[in-house]
Symmetry: C2
Subunit: 713 residues, 2 copies
Amino acid sequence: MILSALLTSVAINLGLCLLFFTLYSILRKQPGNVTVYAPRLVAEGKVKEGGQFNLERLLPTAGWVRKAWEPSEEEFLSNAGLDAFVFMRIFIFSLKVFTFGGIIGMCVLLPINYLGTQLKDESDFQHKSLDSFTISNVNNGSNRLWIHFSAAYVFTGVVCYLLYYEYAYISSKRIACFYSSKPQPHQFTLLVRGVPIPPGSTCSETVERFFQEYHPSTYLSHSVIRRSSRLQNLTADADKMYKKLTRLKSKSDAPQSQRRDGLFGLFGRKVDLLDHYERRLGDLEDNVRMEQSSVTAKEVPAAFVSFKTRFGAAIALHIQEGVNPTEWVTEQAPEPRDVYWPFFTVSFIRRWISKLVVFVACATLTVLFLIPVAIVQGLTHLDQLETWFPFLTGILRLSVVSQVVTGYLPSLILQLFLSFVPPIMILLSSMQGYISLSQIQKSACTKVLLFTIWNIFFANVLSGSALYRVNVFLEPKEIPRVLAEAVPSQASFFIAYVVTTGWTTIASELFQLTTLLYNFISRTFSSNSDDDFEPPSIPYHSEIPRIRLFGLLGVTYFILAPLILPFLLVYFCLGYIIFRNQFLKVYVPKYETGGQFWPTVHNSTIFSLILMHVIAIGIFGLKTLPLASALTIPLPILTLLFNEYCQNRFFPMFKDYPAECLIKKDRADQNDHNMSEFYDTMANAYNDPALMPIRYSDRPNSNRDPLLHNSQV
Amino acid sequence: MILSALLTSVAINLGLCLLFFTLYSILRKQPGNVTVYAPRLVAEGKVKEGGQFNLERLLPTAGWVRKAWEPSEEEFLSNAGLDAFVFMRIFIFSLKVFTFGGIIGMCVLLPINYLGTQLKDESDFQHKSLDSFTISNVNNGSNRLWIHFSAAYVFTGVVCYLLYYEYAYISSKRIACFYSSKPQPHQFTLLVRGVPIPPGSTCSETVERFFQEYHPSTYLSHSVIRRSSRLQNLTADADKMYKKLTRLKSKSDAPQSQRRDGLFGLFGRKVDLLDHYERRLGDLEDNVRMEQSSVTAKEVPAAFVSFKTRFGAAIALHIQEGVNPTEWVTEQAPEPRDVYWPFFTVSFIRRWISKLVVFVACATLTVLFLIPVAIVQGLTHLDQLETWFPFLTGILRLSVVSQVVTGYLPSLILQLFLSFVPPIMILLSSMQGYISLSQIQKSACTKVLLFTIWNIFFANVLSGSALYRVNVFLEPKEIPRVLAEAVPSQASFFIAYVVTTGWTTIASELFQLTTLLYNFISRTFSSNSDDDFEPPSIPYHSEIPRIRLFGLLGVTYFILAPLILPFLLVYFCLGYIIFRNQFLKVYVPKYETGGQFWPTVHNSTIFSLILMHVIAIGIFGLKTLPLASALTIPLPILTLLFNEYCQNRFFPMFKDYPAECLIKKDRADQNDHNMSEFYDTMANAYNDPALMPIRYSDRPNSNRDPLLHNSQV
């Protein structure tokens, strides 16, 4: 890729971003879009939704930037929750890292690279290949490479310092949030699986007996889990039907309800509709009750067990309960709203097997995904395209077309394929037997991250230069050399990737095109979509891996092609302000893990550093500076030791809360007079929503939480 | 190696074994040797030591075999302890495995190997190379290899079944032993390290305050640890001096004490001796008291904390105590007699660094050790010896010499070098910050095991055929091929190794040559050695790796050279009866880990199986049967899955006791009226023996346990 192609790409994407921002600042002010651009505020009742088109609000303004910028960290934390706070720390951390890296890279490394003569690129500045700005252009054996060597050491040191600081900061926030939290059922409750039910006894009796025997002073109550997937479908149907009916009724009372009521009304028999729905709801209710009475017998050997104190729950959690470690397996319960009901009915051995199956499926998906990526790679090489599709030669020779094809199209297609991955990973994770959405998303986050690194970074690096080298990882000694040959040559692809995919996704995150279109269609064709309105939650499992990929690119290319860093800085700046805005106005947390996503971020950064070191070892070898190559070897070892220390120093705090905190919090509760009330609510907090009695006829609305399968958020 | 050389070696070693057995059965009946051959019975007071030479007891008998055979498993367990029981299960397990393997190997695989014609060994039976009995002799591409293939699957299945059975059996024994145990201080006590002492406070106060704050109902007492290595030396000196003095006194009272009292008396001034020693002891006592008063101030931020119940201790053990996970680090206390005092004064970060240093030292030792092994390897190749030392050619051409050199000498030299390894590994392990002898021995056991496998198995296999291939493990794809080429060619070396080293070490274990000589010398030259008599304990860290190495050889060579199996069976039969005898008569346990050595045995067996599979994959590839090679690949995967399951199913039981057991045991104690007495003794159980008040002048004898450094046992 030449410099002018990059500039074209930058111009196109800057234009796109500006367009998105302008449209956003106009559209967000239209009252009809308030459920798209401020659903959180609507849900909290701070902004009224609905209303008519308003001609005065058409001027684009940037007031939202100020509003997103203004809240302090503490305000943001109390407003958006710790998970959102941790998510924003990724941007702050990345900005710190790449500001430092950018200064060194642009002021020191880039001039050195450019002054080299290895590539003998004699073209003028505008047509210079981007490779002239990479380490490839530094002359072999040049002593200037020692500056790159020092830069690697200094950069690693700074990144490790920042990692340590962030880990310490976030873990202190985690503890502080725990201290300031109200009593919540999940702090007092465990999930117990693998209950060994003796013949002639029920699960409920067994659990009761066991915990009254071994935890008599702290045991409070339990609720056995039942196999209820069929029932869940039925109640979901009944719910839907009930909502439809309420809507219909309210319409028939109000004066405007005489008009045709949406798409459905176009085809339905108008007179019988109310009657017909009521009859169907009655049938459904009967079915649900019948199924409920039958499902009570379908006990699963698992139960939510609640304790009187947090410390009591922690005792039962941490000490192996039964003699057989595969029985009485305890696990901290998720928040009641976070429970993922459909899958967790599986025994120890079945969960173990499904983990294996999911592992194999994940690996297979990763391998098969290389095929579309390989096709996409073909598009980045114009000459290859011309040989494949000779009839396109004329078009491809046009300068604009060639620039679009090389600069923009490949990333877009790749992006399309990649958008299918997070839902698939969520599905796979949910099959692993996790009991909560948060755990499923956390597990899917790791899966998507590995997938992204392998299929975007490694597949591009290794297939762009040599597809046949997929088995390079079976020859560990060769890895540095192969990577050192392949990675710098893909620098221009990844710079373009940051500009196209990075900038565009972050701008479209703000613009929310699909939600906007959906909102527009539903408002135009059906006036009742607002009843189903539910504010979205952020899909951590797809956002974090994407952001971390850009972090990986930045760290990896820091010494190879520092030109990537300014573009990354733009990305992270935009991301910071846009996601702050989104958290304050759009996303409502579905659960609170207490910052448990940070260890994933930490580990992925360590991985990026090690990858950078391995490539540096290879590069110095290739550049015939074996001493620098050898002297780089301690760097990954030191980094791994640093990581090991961090794992010992901080990770335990992200797994469980220490005894000190639990006991202090329990003592504080003892003086609280509301605890007996809280115990009462806790006793019912973990009842399967599908098993709650339904009586639509009398109640104005169902007050059950929408806890069901919500994986595609 | 040819068949006749092997037979010579077998004959020599059988002769040696018989000689050892005969000598043993004669010498063990001599009353003077009772501290050598039945020190345990002496210590228990069942046999009186001392006495004169007895002419009537010179007939060799095999009564000891019957006596060692007779006790049932239960009797043996209650007599020798669970660790000894687990040790014996290694033999029982190995006997089961190799009886099955031996039947298949000798009846099916050996004839097939012998009937092959690949090696074209036309010599007569007696001069046939041992290679004719290995898989190397099977013709390439022969369908008979499918029998080897099936044998690998069947054998793996049987071994895994036996492993599962043993793990379940031993863990049930472990729980049963726990239930039947008396209250012991270490069940109620934790070691707490990294106590964060606030300024102006002492460690003792901090610990007291913390546990009274957070574990008020279960906390009993604590004893702070002090830096006392100087004091330990002083008290040891004082102890020695006191013993000498008592001996001297008793000698001067009794009539026979007028004769010269041993080596010392030969040179000492006879008149002043008593007076002189008493003065020196007085000085030492003063020093000790001075040091004791000064050491009280040298507190270390660590303490033994005792609880009222086992469950109370388990709670504090399993739940992270402080907010900072590197502070208030808890660990189950070892038995008081098992505490290793010198080293455990180190902080978290220092322990962490010393672990690293020890890891590096271990790796270095393993690498440097290859040099003597390479020299030893030279001795096994006669032709190489002749080129190195041309003047020896004449001698080496003698049939007897050549047979001794090839069959016996190499193993002996190797053995000599190896005998230095366990003490070194003990030293390294003790630097890692373990707090008990048992943990040090367990850690050293793993180290010695890895060392043995690498330096005996891999170094012989890879340097015997190609020393330059030490880096074969950096090319994972090549491993099966390289091993398949190298391992079968070393079959004869390892058969000889089993016969020489294996049989001889097991026979000399019975004969206890060094102890016998030491006993003889001390009895002859000094009549007072009995005062220092202390029954030995078994060095698990050197015995288990040795036995497991033979297990590894058996599993690995099962399909390659089944001829090794009968010799191994002899080894394990001898080992079973001899070690049973030793446990009943010789070794006194210094500690009781509750069978925690078994997981090491289990893991090493799994490793052997995987190694066998990898070699099989390579062999089938070399023998141009790629289908069999490919079909073997699932075998290691299935084995690893099996191992993973076992780790989940059994390993937690070997780490800690479950809540169910602890609470049941605590409840049983509540009805026991001796508990308050027990609590009193527990409060002083973990006092540093060096800090106990000494008053030699009044007391008849020091009643302190010899807890000090005992690594060379």
